[in-house]
């Protein structure tokens, strides 16, 4: 099993993908998700604190830490399934601490390596606390920073053949269906 952090770091480190950090000039901070920090440390003996920071800084010119961070970081407020649970007022109240942490950095972009955290920060806290900030997944940041080396004609042809075989096996006809 491989985590998103390890894979992104591996791709950049080994040169399998190229990223251009000049695309993101704005001051950027990173949120430590509980599941990748404290809880991963406890369950697997490793917390993903440094990997997302390294990846973020390959894609951003200007980086700032939230305080406190890493093992002492505050939950976004939507952990443990709270994003889906019927305790909306409690979830937003909980998130006030996260919102203040983010605003205190002065950052214009916050990177969230977790689906729950991203949704809470982007779709709830930004509006509730009037934050002037953009939220991105860690892999969204990498995707937006990509410098893609074009595929050769041969690579494209081979992929098209594999695709056609798969669509025939699965009986997929895009021309035939209305979406």
């Amino acid at each position: 099993m491989i985590s998103v952090h390890d894979l992104l770091k591996e791709y950049i480190e080994t040169g399998r993908i190229k990223v251009d950090k000049s695309i993101h000039e704005e001051l950027t901070t990173i949120h430590d998700p509980c599941n990748y920090g404290r809880k991963s440390d406890k369950a697997f003996g490793h917390a993903f604190y440094e990997e997302p920071r390294w990846v973020t800084q390959q894609c951003c010119e200007n980086f700032v830490e939230m305080h406190p961070n890493r093992a002492n970081n505050f939950c976004c407020g939507a952990g443990g399934g709270a994003w889906a649970m019927p305790y909306e007022a409690e979830r937003i109240y909980y998130g006030r601490v996260k919102a203040k942490q983010i605003m205190d950095t002065g950052a214009k972009m916050v990177i969230a390596p977790c689906h729950n955290c991203r949704d809470q920060i982007m779709k709830s806290l930004t509006k509730e606390f009037g934050m002037d900030i953009e939220t991105k997944y860690l892999w969204e940041l990498v995707c937006d920073s990509l410098v893609v080396e074009p595929w050769t004609e041969e690579e494209i042809k081979k992929a098209n053949e594999l695709r056609d075989a798969q669509y025939e096996r699965d009986d997929i006809d895009l021309e035939d269906q209305e979406w």
């Binding site: 404290r38 002492n72 889906a84 410098v147 695709r163 798969q166 997929i172």
Partner: protein, 230 residues
């Protein structure tokens, strides 16, 4: 008021037998918990309830559910009291039809139909093909397609069902990275859910079943690595 009979050996919540004796009620946990004070919630109260044998009262209370299981209390506790473990255990002991919101329904749906939101196989496959076509033809990624059930792929990728359900274009972030990396990847046509809500509902048995299905697909497809969606 009836006196409480404390039965230490029979407590359903005593996952770590030493807590009652070691908790100083110092408040390090409560001081760092953003939800302390809501509904009278305080991690120390929860620990005391468990220690005093008020198992059912804690299980029926809102404490274990307005807690986000972030684990900051447990990390900070100078005495090593396993507060997070206790809270999740209290969730486990809640009757399944009384689990708040959709998280248990999602687990049941995942067991029955392979993903938390019940997206049918045909819809999923067609969506992947349709999004692939957009990338291939309109977004500058010629030759891209989303491989499904591809035997021997290097990486098997699971999916957060909220994306095919409501934010399908977000799947393209990873797809574009795979394209740039020329990765040999695949996802599965069924049981591709990468979000295990049993973690939140406290349902270890379902978690194991759902994880086991992913492992089974990996073995059948002979994939080398597994990527979870976050």
């Amino acid at each position: 008021m009836e006196p409480i009979t404390i039965n230490r050996t029979e407590s359903k919540l005593r996952v770590a037998p030493e807590w009652a004796d070691v908790c100083f009620t110092c408040g390090t946990c409560a001081g760092g918990c953003p939800v302390s004070g809501v509904d009278g919630m305080d991690p120390r109260k929860a620990v005391r309830m468990a220690a005093l044998g008020l198992d059912q009262e804690l299980i029926d209370s809102r404490f274990p559910w307005i807690c986000t299981l972030c684990g900051r209390c447990e990390y900070a506790c100078p005495q090593g009291v396993e507060i997070l473990k206790m809270m999740r255990r209290a969730r486990t002991l809640r009757e399944r039809d009384k689990v708040p919101g959709p998280i248990h329904k999602g687990v049941a749906m995942c067991l029955e139909r392979g993903n938390n939101l019940g997206i049918p196989k045909d819809d999923f496959l067609f969506l992947l093909a349709d999004l692939s076509k957009e990338m291939d033809e309109d977004e500058g990624f010629p030759g891209f397609y989303a491989p499904v059930d591809k035997k021997g792929a290097n990486i098997m990728v699971t999916v957060n069902s909220k994306e095919p359900f409501g934010e399908p274009d977000d799947m393209k972030f990873w797809w574009k990275i795979f394209y740039a990396a020329r990765e040999d990847w695949t996802t599965t046509s069924t049981e591709w859910e990468g979000v295990n809500w049993g973690l939140f509902s406290g349902d270890d048995e379902s978690m194991r079943e759902i994880t086991g299905r992913i492992v089974k697909h990996m073995e059948e497809l002979e994939c080398k690595r597994l990527l979870l969606p976050e």
